[in-house]
Symmetry: C2
């Protein structure tokens, strides 16, 4: 790598120009990058907004993630929160801090990862603004926006007694991928599909709108594990949630081989593993649930136990981003 | 300070709860913090969005800035970009990363700083979402949103030959404040008004809407110094800009005592100093320029020199956030 192409040598303007120059354009953008601010359409007179941050050595390791992976994950984890409101992603802003010794090719790969995730997960959206700063550690902060097309947002607090609990997307695969990355190289390559989900999450973004249209009463994105996120719906909605272990067996089957290889519990990954960014939603009994949602339980009157698995309390052994 | 009240001991949920609990509510918020995303009104079917990042030891030092100062500055620097589009700030999201050994009182002061800046600079706006993460260095990333009330945004690219160049807000005071902080304590306390502008910038936010209503043809917020930001307007608009040094004398007078004390040039602070977050705008000849804008020059046909001071080329010795 030529020393001339480090960010320090290119400077902020040129680094920004090269990066922004690669970004794909979206359908909602009225004024894109390059001014003090962007301007984005919000056709129904309101917009959804969410933010999420990834920090080197806390949320990712540069030895595991390429610039492309990191760009992809930054988009994926944020549009998943937009989807969880029942909205369609429209625009994002991306702030990144990184060492000035970084080669521009890393940043270009990061931009390509942003593009790939938008193309695959949020077509029509655009990175309308951003910021590049200098820091010893890599730090990525994304804010994502969405359009509800006139619908009400689907909150965590709307679950009703009698509703069906259902999940769209994977469970346990991202946790399996993380465990594989932390293990020996051999196991990693044998289960590269699981590693890929950890590095480049595949949230079922379109299912968020589908759930809203189907009448979902509550929804969130499972970032901290099924158990913890089910607790959040139960708490916000003033209900309890019963999960049936037999409905989780399909998810367990998907990670069983890897769990055996690492001599750990597949069901723990499915119950407690975070970062799949799947959607957990509740639907009134009798509605036609979108086919990508798999029913896994029921909403019942609130008891001492907010979440049970086969009638036994399910603790929320999830992930705390401060305590780790 | 009790060890019990560190963020590590309180955990993410409780730290967030205590912080969010302090935040004031705004007029545009439909769904505030606590769900996967917030929902914000955009009455005219579009919204303005901008993002800015502050990193410890690059953009601030914890020995100089309190938590309150940092919260204040995070809001101020971002709403100033919203104002520079001619918009009114409506909502912000704030991501902060900080050591888990930080006492919750620091984070509470940060929240109070957010509130104070919103009350003073962007009344009606609200912090509608955020993120708290763990990092050895403090890192603050804010995304701000604004409402144009049906108007077109004021871009950098609209300056026309014959327009008057004018500035609202201070010039050189933030640079003076920084130089004072870097100097001995004695000078610092003698010019605490200048230090205060560096720590808690006072962008003339309402003047952004006023400029738009008056017919401003271009506008930006002076974050990197008058010279560099005037170049940006000239380049984006395909014009040259003539600045008159006599029109800068009032700004120089405001920092002259401090410059003498530090034996440096007051006019350099005014011409090249960043972080005042004042508004630089161009207005068609003959319009009534809002009184808070001081005319300092003219827009002319583009020449080899994009910006001149009394006819001599003014170099853009501003600030590069990567090269420093």
């Amino acid at each position: 790598m030529s020393q001339e192409s480090t960010l320090a040598n290119l400077g902020e303007s040129e680094s920004l120009r090269r990066t922004i120059g690669r970004l794909i354009q979206g359908e909602y953008t009225l004024v894109g990058p390059g001014d003090d601010a962007a301007v984005v359409r919000a056709p129904d007179g309101k917009f959804v907004v969410t933010t999420d941050t990834m920090i080197e050595n806390h949320d990712f390791k540069l030895e595991w993630s390429t610039g492309f992976d990191l760009g992809y994950k930054a988009i994926a984890t944020n549009v998943s929160d937009v989807a969880a409101m029942g909205a369609r992603p429209t625009a994002l802003v991306v702030a990144i801090a990184l060492p000035s010794t970084t080669n521009i090719s890393w940043l270009e790969a990061f931009a390509d990862g942003l593009n790939a995730a938008i193309t695959e997960l949020a077509p029509g959206a655009e990175v309308v603004g951003g910021d590049i700063a200098n820091s010893d550690l890599v730090f990525v902060s994304v804010t994502a926006h969405g359009d509800l097309d006139g619908r009400e947002p689907v909150l965590r607090s709307g679950a009703k007694v009698g509703d069906v609990l259902a999940v769209a997307g994977t469970l346990g695969r991202a946790a399996a991928g993380l465990a594989l990355l932390q293990s020996d190289t051999d196991a990693k390559s044998a289960f590269d599909d699981l590693v890929a989900i950890q590095l480049r999450p595949q949230p079922p973004v379109a299912s968020g709108v589908a759930a809203s249209l189907a009448g979902a009463t509550s929804m969130l994105d499972i970032s901290d594990g099924l158990a913890r996120d089910a607790h959040r719906i139960a708490k916000a909605s003033g209900v309890s949630i019963q999960i049936n272990s037999k409905d989780l067996q399909g998810f367990e089957a998907g990670v069983e081989q890897a769990a055996m290889r690492l001599a750990v519990s597949a069901s723990d990954w499915v119950r407690f593993g975070g970062e799949d960014h799947s959607l957990l939603a509740t639907f009134p009994e009798g509605v036609v649930i979108p086919r990508e949602f798999k029913p896994i339980g029921l909403v019942v009157e609130q008891t001492d136990h907010l979440v049970t698995l086969d009638g036994i309390e399910l603790q929320q052994n999830g992930w705390d981003s401060i305590r780790g």
